[in-house]
């Protein structure tokens, strides 16, 4: 009951956040110089042409008026029409969303595996040279941003040792039997592992580039909180019970040490989704981020609005999910 109440409360605050985002993005992109109409018309268009087109897209009205029209559309599920492609924004955005979601989740999985492995190995072998090497590696991974990792990976595994694809989401010549845009997921469900392999080989490098800095953060924080936890009395007590050090780390220390890391992963995951914008561009990956850059270049106002709102929905959704998981893992919070 209490649980349901807190979830409802969170949903309400989420709605307020989204409304705030809508207002800000709508006004900011209209205040920034640059005119979508000028981008669309050939050189030498007359004043009358400009006026006609401006009126067609409703850009002749005052900004508050435009906002009201847009919001009433959004509330009915109509996010407007893209200026450049003339397609409904919602349809465009939803067609690209699966690609970005698959990329982000893949990156998150890689980051958790890498970071978790480094933290656990470092804790198990504390005081050894391996631990020192892990610390140095973490520091390096952390101090290089994701897009640079992207370039390094392209150079290494795309050019010097070409084992992964460096652009696109799937080899264009392959016939795709998919009905959704979740290519990676659907290829598994349809048991088409040949396609899965191709898609994974395309996704691996951008996902890894996004994952490396996050893996370093996870590794560092988890190792730190494990280190603190390993000194606690209940861990010592478990040692005297005859358990191996590995068991003590995994079963006694980890469930408690993981809590702060979990919160951080939630926050960092939203940053990671933000990072897809540049990484998708770098790897010519057909996702939301790549579309966002095109939309900004073309001053496609309705599309920008749609993408930003969708990103905001994902961000708040992830944060909500993290809070709920946290409560599920921590008995002290569950009862409070």
């Amino acid at each position: 009951m209490q649980f349901l109440q807190s979830v409802l409360l969170r949903l309400c605050t989420t709605l307020i956040t989204l409304a705030g985002v809508a207002v800000i993005v709508f006004f900011v992109i209209r205040v920034v110089p640059g005119n979508p109409i000028a981008m669309m018309l050939p050189p030498g268009a007359t004043e009358a042409d400009v006026a006609r087109l401006t009126a067609l897209y409703g850009l002749d009205k005052s900004i508050p008026q435009q906002f009201l029209i847009w919001v009433s559309g959004v509330l009915q599920g109509d996010f407007g029409t893209s200026i450049t492609t003339k397609q409904p924004v919602l349809q465009l955005v939803l067609s690209r969303l699966p690609a970005t979601l698959e990329l982000s989740v893949m990156a998150l999985i890689i980051a958790v595996i890498l970071g978790g492995f480094m933290a656990l190995t470092g804790t198990r072998l504390r005081g050894s040279k391996t631990e020192a090497a892990i610390d140095v590696g973490n520091g390096m991974a952390l101090s290089v941003p994701d897009f640079l990792w992207g370039l390094i990976l392209i150079l290494t595994f795309g050019v010097l040792i070409p084992i992964f694809h460096i652009s696109g989401r799937v080899t264009p010549s392959l016939p795709l039997p998919f009905t959704t845009n979740f290519y990676l997921t659907e290829s598994v469900l349809r048991l088409r592992f040949d396609l899965w392999l191709d898609i994974a080989a395309h996704m691996f490098m951008p996902a890894l580039a996004l994952a490396i800095p996050l893996a370093a953060i996870i590794g560092q924080l988890l190792k730190q909180s494990l280190k603190e936890t390993m000194h606690l009395d209940y861990v010592t007590l478990a040692r005297t019970k005859g358990y191996s050090e590995t068991h003590v780390i995994l079963r006694e220390a980890l469930p408690n040490a993981i809590l702060p890391t979990l919160t951080l992963v939630g926050v960092q995951f939203t940053f990671l989704i933000g990072g897809t914008v540049i990484i998708e561009r770098l790897f010519s990956y057909e996702g939301l981020g790549n579309m966002a850059i095109d939309a900004v270049i073309n001053r496609d106002l309705p599309l920008i609005q749609g993408i930003v709102i969708l990103f905001a929905v994902i961000f708040t959704g992830v944060n909500l999910l993290v809070d709920l998981t946290y409560a599920a893992l921590n008995p002290r919070l569950r009862h409070a």
Binding site: R126, T236, L237, R239, T240, K241, E245, L329, P331
Partner: protein, 289 residues
Amino acid sequence: MSFLSIRNLSARLKGRPDQILRRVSLEVAAGEVRGLVGESGAGKSMIGKAILGTLPQSVEITGGQIILDGTDLLSLPTAQRRTLIGAKCALIPQDPLTALNPSRRIGPQITNRLVDILHWTRADAEKRARDLLAEVQIPDPERVMRSYPHELSGGMRQRILIASAFAAEPKLIIADEPTTALDVTVQKQILKLIAAMQARHGTALLFVTHDLGVVSKVCQSLSVLYAGYVLEDSTIPDFFHTPKHPYSRALLAATPKYTDPDGSLTPVSDAVIAATRAEVEAADRSAHV
């Protein structure tokens, strides 16, 4: 042959000359209750940790033997040593508030050793846990086993830890200042409980404490520790009637008497401490020659 026999155990902080333990020797016979007394920093907890293999990484053992039931623990590889200790020893920790895992229910925290290490069936282990919780006078053991530590009081948690220590019928229990973190009102009950459990199960007990009053009530013999050095080793009646070492006498004079709680106390004088220090250092020198 004693169940536990520590011979000439020395330890120091890694890379530093200062000794934490100086050729400590002590014996605990099967079923014996031995007090290990000393002021804070005397190294009494370190001895318990050395036996259980839970010394901090910064401490290294530089010599000696810890012989448990005929096996020298220090000669065993870590994994084997842990298994042996897990089967034969148990710890009653100092602070019940931090010694239970906050994210697990009480039941598994008592039964896990029985199931994972000693390969009992879960049903047997749970029955054992229920019986023990009843034995340490916890009302409604069923409910307590389903509780999380934060739902229970400090006294309750210490009772649970005592029950847990006796779960596998260990031959030796090390109680590391088990009442220090508790309310004065609860201390007495817990002390009685430990003594009663020890008597019923016949377990040898190494009772680490700074409180001579506690020792006089629970123990049969004691070792007095100063700066990692065993100054005196005697039975309880001998120690309280005719303490041999001047430091012991000073320590007794500084302890409130239960018969005369308002009587005046004499702090251990600087002269006694200086003399004791000199004695320890002289013993160190002669050992190194």
